[in-house]
Amino acid sequence: MNVAVTTQPKRKPSFGDWLKTLTFYELLVGMKATLTHLLNYKPITLQYPHEKRLLPDNYRGMLALLRYDDGTEKCVGCDLCEAACPSRVIRVVSGEVPGEPTKRYSKEYYMDMTRCLFCGLCVDACPVDALGMTREFEWAVYDKRQLHLNKQQLLAIGDRSFPVREKRLELQHPNVAFFNVTFKHLPQKEN
């Protein structure tokens, strides 16, 4: 593709231009904000950790696994969060709940928080709202392996961050009353 290059004919500098150059006018414009702050000084740095910032409502912090109000885990091990995660943080190993034939859950659940982008896609993907983003962010550690969290740790985070819990699904939506239930009269899957 041909691009026609048009050059503007050079304008002769006027007296005003000349004056601006002499007085560093442009620099002063740039420094305006700095100079104003210098004149009426008010500290904006928070003295963290003594002072803490007010977090916005939609703050996306540490991830957590949640429970229903009867204490049972919400996660059904569907693996959708794992599929949704763009940076492969999550690993779900699903299986049948021991002692509860045909009910599905995540046998193991891992999050490698060193890689998490806090995008919240997993939370969106979860069909049973088993994931939540807490307001926790103080997760600096010396050994980054400590950021490799298992299910128990993630549930614990949920427990301390979400004291108000939802009712079980079947109580909320009678129409899905048959979702992921156990059938005691069936044998457990052999392993």
């Binding site: 599929a83 299986g95 049948e96 599905r104 992921n180």
Partner: protein
């Protein structure tokens, strides 16, 4: 099949013109131009049922929407698949389905590969107008391996139709009406069927799923490897799905492989054998009488050292080798090359000895090929099929499906000769489809075939040209058979002359006649003679070299055919070529750059005898277990106990491996690359699906390593290099194509056979063989293969063990009533060799006077078997016993 070109019809689909054969369905024509019409109940394998209404399309000049899955194309038809009306129809059909569909996707194993999910995404809004409670079915326990969740069923009946049309099992049925229709099996107990997994594969939603892999995976997590099943000679293409290094699922895509996506229980549910916890993971060396773990270096050096020492002290012929034909062609080839070149002996054998050799020898002798002259396609296209000595459903299930297809879809006439009774049962029974069935005692196959040949000759059905071309052959057979009276034949076999005559007419009248011979003949005394006589029958009918006609021996092991072709038997070099074939010997010698040994080979039984005498000092055993499989009379344990060096390459610590000096852990079929050659002679690629378990290695690698240590290296980079060498030795071997190209009858060999070749043993082949008299009881006990087990791997598969995990005695109801035996009761089975106590199972399909015992659980029972060795072919027979029964209370 008339081979005329079918008429073509032109039509337009969404404006694209397409020409398709007459009779094609609109949905198939659309697929050809890349238009996918949504559907649930349509499946290319099944007859159209048009029950789901998902596939509605607009056809010009037709007042209403039409179901694309049941409307055949017509000249000039204009089909539209994407108009507003069609779209509305899709929406409404889906809305009705979803009105009752649970929101199970998160916990449903079909999620991610579900047609309903896909179509819903494509055609429906995300909200529903229905607020009513959904339909809920009582959840019932279905079976240990198949899980149903009827709330998810869209009532397309694909499962029911598959089980009936393809499998002929008829285990499933729809129960109830309207939306309350659910799929159930029969009877008050859990599902009892062939467990082919077909219903799992064909269900478009998650209503029928595998319990074996339940909740273990999501489709997108799985890595797939297309490989070949190891459990029988049919050679099915399987797709092994793994997560990490874990085996999750096996299935087979429609249109893939020789099996076209159909599998049997062993292929579908048997895959866990490879990851069994009992797998050997380290080499073992015997130190102070005990097998202890060792490194590969130590183990291989020990073997090489001992082998060199023994070779020096004795001769190359103090060595023997035994390999299972479940190995890949590459393993088999390197094995025989190792034995012939590095050790320098022809004393090798493989499990093809147990029966498959009978078939190959007969084919070579009469028609000059070592392979079938037919392929599966010819079975499907046959007009008449003769099955001799095969309970094909249980031994070669997929070949069985081809036979069923020929009979059910193409109205072929089926004639069966087998120790099997027609009966409706939980497994399909091929004799139910037979036009003529000869219930044949296992020792009477030869005589029953004689009757058929006699009927052909006496019915003047002999091919007219043959009588001119080979008068000697026809006359010799005619006179021999005239010497046998019908009364005599009827008396020994229990068949009737009329049935033979009728059958002869059916076979003679068929344009395309296919004969399949199974283990009942191949693995029993006189097997090769019976196969030769069947080939004679084809010759007499003038059909041996006609297109679409031929005889096929059914291999039991997945690579029986390959073992023979790779020369892993005593009498053949790779090819197979006889040991005295000088041109082949020269050709191989140029490739190997070494002379081939001139000493005669030795079969399994000869090697055992030699070991017992002390002339055999060392034995390499690959995946075989003579101590465990042969009856005590074979004296395998004694023989192997006398060896100075016994090396076993094994997956598990078998009875034989437990006696070895060194045990080397081998890879299973899931962990290696290579090729298998199936019954019909099709060479197919085996691909690695998981990493080797523990420190195990492919068998060829071990021989390669040993050869280096022993100073005459056979080095290969990978399995493909071996295949390349195989191709120089056997030109054109295994050019992997989608379908086999069966060889043609070698006319020179055939005319040689017709002039003189037949004469040598015609007198013995055409004489009534009298049943052997034993002093033992009146029942004939057969050790049979069952559908749920095959080979030495299947008893390590947790899925298959859930279907069958112990031996039991199958008995005919009349016999059971006579002896007052109840189903599930105990019975004592005894003869002069010993006695066992086992459980009784009453099955109508067992003929009176016969008893079946599954050979995979024959542990104790084996001692009852009669041990005979065919003096000519050296084939050992040990699958039969004469016993008496007594109730145990």
């Amino acid at each position: 099949m008339p081979d005329q070109k079918p008429e073509t019809v032109r039509l337009t689909i969404d404006g694209t013109t397409v020409a398709v054969p007459k009779g094609t369905l609109v949905i198939e024509a659309a697929r050809r131009v890349g238009v996918m019409i949504p559907h649930f109940c349509y499946h290319p394998k099944l007859k159209p049922d048009a029950n789901c209404r998902m596939c509605l399309v607009e056809v010009e000049k037709m007042p209403k929407l039409q179901t694309a899955c049941s409307t055949p194309v017509a000249e000039g038809m204009a089909v539209r698949t994407a108009t507003t009306t069609v779209d509305d129809a899709h929406k409404s059909v889906l809305e009705f389905i979803l009105a009752n569909h649970p929101l199970d996707c998160p916990v449903c194993d079909q999620g991610g590969k579900c047609d309903l999910q896909d179509f819903s995404h494509q055609y429906t809004p995300t909200t529903s107008r229905f607020t009513e409670t959904k339909r809920i079915f009582q959840k019932e326990y279905f079976s240990p391996l198949i899980e149903t969740q009827m709330n998810r069923c869209v009532q397309c009946l694909r499962c029911v139709r598959y089980c009936d049309e393809i499998m002929d099992v008829k285990a499933l049925a729809p129960v109830g009406r309207g939306t309350m229709t659910e799929i159930k099996h029969f009877g008050p107990h859990e599902l009892d069927c062939e467990f082919c997994g077909g219903c799992i594969q064909i269900c478009p939603v998650g209503a029928i799923t595998s319990r074996l892999s339940m909740y273990e995976y999501r489709p997108w997590m799985l890595k797939r490897a297309d490989t070949i099943c190891t459990f029988c000679g049919d050679g099915c293409r399987i797709t092994v799905q793994t997560k990490g290094n874990e085996l999750i699922e096996v299935n087979s895509a429609h249109g893939a492989g020789r099996n076209n996506g159909d599998l049997c229980a062993r292929g579908f549910f048997g895959f866990h054998a490879s990851s069994d916890a009992d797998r050997l993971t380290h080499p073992l060396i015997r130190r102070e009488g005990k097998l202890v773990e060792a490194t590969w270096e130590d183990a291989l050096e020990y073997v090489a050292e001992q082998a060199l020492r023994l070779k020096l002290a004795h001769s190359a012929d103090a060595f023997g080798g035994l390999i299972t034909s479940r190995c890949t062609n590459e393993d088999l080839y390197v094995f025989q090359k190792f034995m012939r070149q590095v050790i320098g002996t022809n004393r090798i054998d493989s499990s093809a000895r147990y029966g498959h050799l009978n078939g190959v020898q007969a084919l070579r002798r009469v028609q000059g090929t070592h392979r079938w002259t037919i392929a599966f396609e010819d079975i499907v296209a046959a007009n008449a099929l003769l099955l001799v000595g095969t309970n094909i459903t249980e031994t070669s299930p997929i070949t069985g499906l081809k036979v069923k297809e020929a009979v059910k879809k193409r109205q072929a006439s089926l004639v069966t000769m087998e120790a099997l009774q027609p009966a409706i049962d939980t497994l399909s029974n091929i004799t139910n489809l037979a036009l003529q069935h000869f219930p044949t005692h296992p020792a009477q196959f030869g005589n029953t075939v004689l009757g058929l040949t006699k009927a052909v000759i006496e019915g003047n059905l002999v091919d007219a040209t043959l009588a001119q071309q080979a008068p000697a052959f026809v006359q010799r057979l005619t006179s021999a058979l005239q010497g046998i009276s019908w009364e005599n034949l009827e008396a020994v076999t229990g068949q009737t002359r009329t049935q033979w005559t009728e059958t002869a007419k059916i076979l003679a009248g068929a344009n395309r006649l296919v004969i399949l011979v199974g283990n009942g003949v191949l693995r029993h005394p006189g097997g090769d003679a019976t196969v030769t006589n069947l080939l004679d029958l084809l010759i007499l009918l003038g059909k041996l070299d006609k297109p679409g006609c031929g005889l096929g021996p059914l291999a039991e092991e997945n690579n029986d055919q390959g073992a023979v072709e790779m020369g892993a038997v005593a009498e053949f070099f790779p090819g197979p070529a006889p040991l005295d074939d000088q041109p082949v010997r020269d050709r191989i010698a140029t490739v190997w750059r070494e002379e081939l040994p001139r000493t005669p080979g030795a079969s399994l039984t000869e090697m055992l005898a030699a070991a017992n005498k002390g002339s055999l000092k060392a034995l390499f055993v690959v995946g075989e277990n003579p101590v465990g499989t042969l009856p005590a009379e074979a004296q395998a344990a004694e023989a192997l106990g006398k060896l100075d060096l016994l090396v076993c390459q094994e997956l598990f610590l078998t009875e034989t491996a437990a006696m070895a000096h060194v045990v080397l852990p081998a890879c299973s079929y899931m962990e290696k690359d290579g090729t298998f050659t199936n019954s019909e002679g099709h060479v197919q690629g085996v691909r690695q699906a998981i990493n080797p378990v523990g420190d195990s290695r492919p068998d060829w690698e071990m021989f390669s390593a040993l050869s280096v240590l022993m100073g005459s290296p056979l080095e290969y980079g990978d399995a493909r290099e071996i295949l390349k060498e195989i191709r120089t030795v056997i030109p054109g071997y295994g050019l992997l194509g989608p379908t086999p190209t069966p060889p043609k009858v070698d006319q020179a060999v055939l005319s040689g056979y017709l002039t003189q070749g037949f004469a040598g043993d015609a007198a013995t082949r055409y004489a009534v063989s009298q049943p052997r008299q034993t002093g033992d009881g009146s029942f004939t006990l057969m050790f049979v293969q069952t559908l749920f087990h095959s080979g030495k791997l299947s008893t390590h598969s947790k899925g298959l063990l859930q279907l069958q995990q112990e031996g039991f005695l199958s008995i005919n109801p009349e016999d059971a009533a006579r002896l007052d035996l109840a189903d599930g009761g105990q019975v004592k089975v005894s003869n002069s060799r010993g006695a066992i106590t086992t459980t009784v199972k009453i099955r109508e399909r067992v003929p009176a006077g016969l008893l079946w015992f599954p050979e995979h659980f024959d542990g104790e029972a084996k001692q009852l078997a009669e041990w005979t060795i065919d003096p000519r072919t050296q084939i050992p027979y040990f699958k039969l016993a004469h016993v008496s029964l007594a109730k145990v209370s």
